[in-house]
Amino acid sequence: MAFIEVENLSKTYTLRKKRAGHFTREKSQVKALDAMCFQVEKGEILGYIGPNGAGKSTTVKLLCGILTPESGSARVNGLIPWKDRKIHARQIGVVFGQRSQLWWDVPVIDSYQLLRDIYRVPEAQFTARLQELTGALGLAELLNTPLRLLSLGQRMRAELGGSLLHSPKLLFLDEPTIGLDAVSKLQLRDFLLHENQAHGTTIMLTTHDMEDISALCRRVLVLGHGKKLFDGALPDLLAKYDTQRVITLRYADGRGLPELPDHCLVSQDGQDHRIVYSPDHLPTAQLMAALQTAGPIQELTVQSQSIDHLIAAMYREMDL
């Protein structure tokens, strides 16, 4: 049996809308999750992606035991989250990127000690774990500071530490890097990889940051409108949409581009030229030859489209 097993899981929200000027209430239903199925093995890192409103957070809430589904089943390590909520709670850790679990006005360490008591972590184990997390997340100078005085990056580190104090087997991260700067993001990724490798922690990550995904997840699951659209390796997903290349070049004398074949999208930034083309329609060698005959080239790079472009193209094609 897999560590996480989700079968035909569905959740519908009922919205009661108040119409202005009337006391009548309209009901509308949102199918947030529609017969979702997937499995996750122990120690895997799953990237769970999809556009806003796809149903990612709903899935996380269901698997945490916070929400009860309309139909379908889910088991995490043999437990049904919403039925065995309290026992299940001990084996999971959660980070909701836009919320805080630590107390605002008191030093971080006080919140940690409360969490220690809530999860009944033995003192020796707590001390060792705190030391490990303090080192790995750089918490030393944060622990005695009230949460409200921390920067967003520091706060996220502190939050993550709080979610892992009880050494959960499974970690849910719902948009953890939202609003973080580059350094903080890199730190966070390194830490998550370490946690995953050192403790075999299974991780389920939702994010809009594709670099998070490519740095952390070998496997991604794409969903839209509550339905599963893709489940597999990230390179396989990208290969399907990775049909374009981008050439950036500059001529030694700063001259302009020559006349180019059709199917090229050209733009300019100072003396740098950017050409987007599709090798299927225009072989790279042919394009290169045309560029080279025009004059001596000082600099040239060939790249894939950014991963964000690929995902945007994918969402477009999937009609999301």
């Binding site: 990612k56 916070i66 709670a89 999971i92 919320r99 805080s100 008191v106 000690q113 809530i118």
Partner: protein
């Protein structure tokens, strides 16, 4: 159990951070207290009542001193419910009701102790008929403190019910304002319950709101003789059990249908 105790300590620490707000509250409450006792003094001079004036003045001061035990809501907790921060609490291996109960207990206990101490000191110094009288006996004082603690347990149970109702409506202000007004009136904060007509008192003193402050105050001032005290405390106890049971039931029911806001 340790989880709830730690939560209590945590909320206590948080409340200590707001010491500054205490001074404003104390000044305001003393001001109200002075106006009320002056008013009752004038009333008694023109139209004496059979209840001694010292008892009424003491009632007023004790109500003012423990005002924060009745009227204090945990804004942070309400925000959590409204914005979905409660999601974290639901991911914990704890009993939600107990967790909130511990928070409220800490807030109400510390919040009222910090204010009551300076206020009662002032009220004890005021002249007879305006200030707080000494308790009728040491035994009465002891029993009234016990009654006050039971009142505290009772008010936390009530507050938890309000909170559970809030989870249904999301917009708590309307429901809460109404329930609070009802509480202030029936708890004797607006007008001492001892001044209500006897036939009213017979009913009102049995209601849950009278268990909060009215009962301990009556024991303190001697309106309830010591012999009556066990019965009064028993009524408090019965209400605590009923209200906790109701609150628990409401929370359990809501939790099943709970929808957490925000993604």
């Amino acid at each position: 159990m340790k989880a709830y105790l730690s939560t209590f300590v945590m909320r206590w620490k948080m409340e200590l951070q707001y010491r500054g707000a205490v001074i404003g509250g104390v000044v305001c409450q003393i001001f109200f207290g002075l106006i009320l006792v002056s008013l009752y003094g004038a009333l008694y001079r023109s139209k004496p009542q059979n209840l001694p004036l010292e008892a009424v003045a003491s009632y007023v001061w004790l109500q003012q001193a423990f005002f924060r035990m009745l009227l204090s809501t945990d804004g942070e907790l309400l925000d959590k419910i409204r914005t979905g921060g409660i999601a974290y609490e639901l991911c914990r291996p704890i009993h939600l009701y107990g967790f909130y109960y511990a928070r409220m207990l800490a807030q109400k206990l510390l919040g009222s102790l910090l204010r009551a101490a300076p206020m009662l000191a002032v009220a004890l110094l005021l002249p007879r008929g305006m200030g707080l009288m000494a308790p009728v006996s040491l035994a009465a004082l002891t029993v009234s403190v016990l009654g006050l603690l039971l009142g505290l347990l009772c008010v936390c149970a009530l507050e938890n019910i309000t909170m559970a109702l809030t989870m249904r409506t999301l917009d708590h202000r309307g429901v809460m304002a109404m329930l609070n007004l009802l509480m202030m009136f029936l708890a004797g904060n607006i007008l001492p319950l001892t001044l209500f007509p006897d036939s009213w008192q017979r009913v009102i003193t049995l209601l849950p709101y009278a268990q909060l402050l009215d009962t301990p105050i009556r024991i303190y001032t001697g309106q309830y003789a010591l012999a009556q005290a066990p019965q009064a405390l028993l009524i408090q106890l019965v209400w605590i059990i009923l209200l906790v049971a109701l609150g628990e039931w409401l929370w359990a029911r809501h939790q099943k249908r709970l929808i957490i806001q925000g993604g």
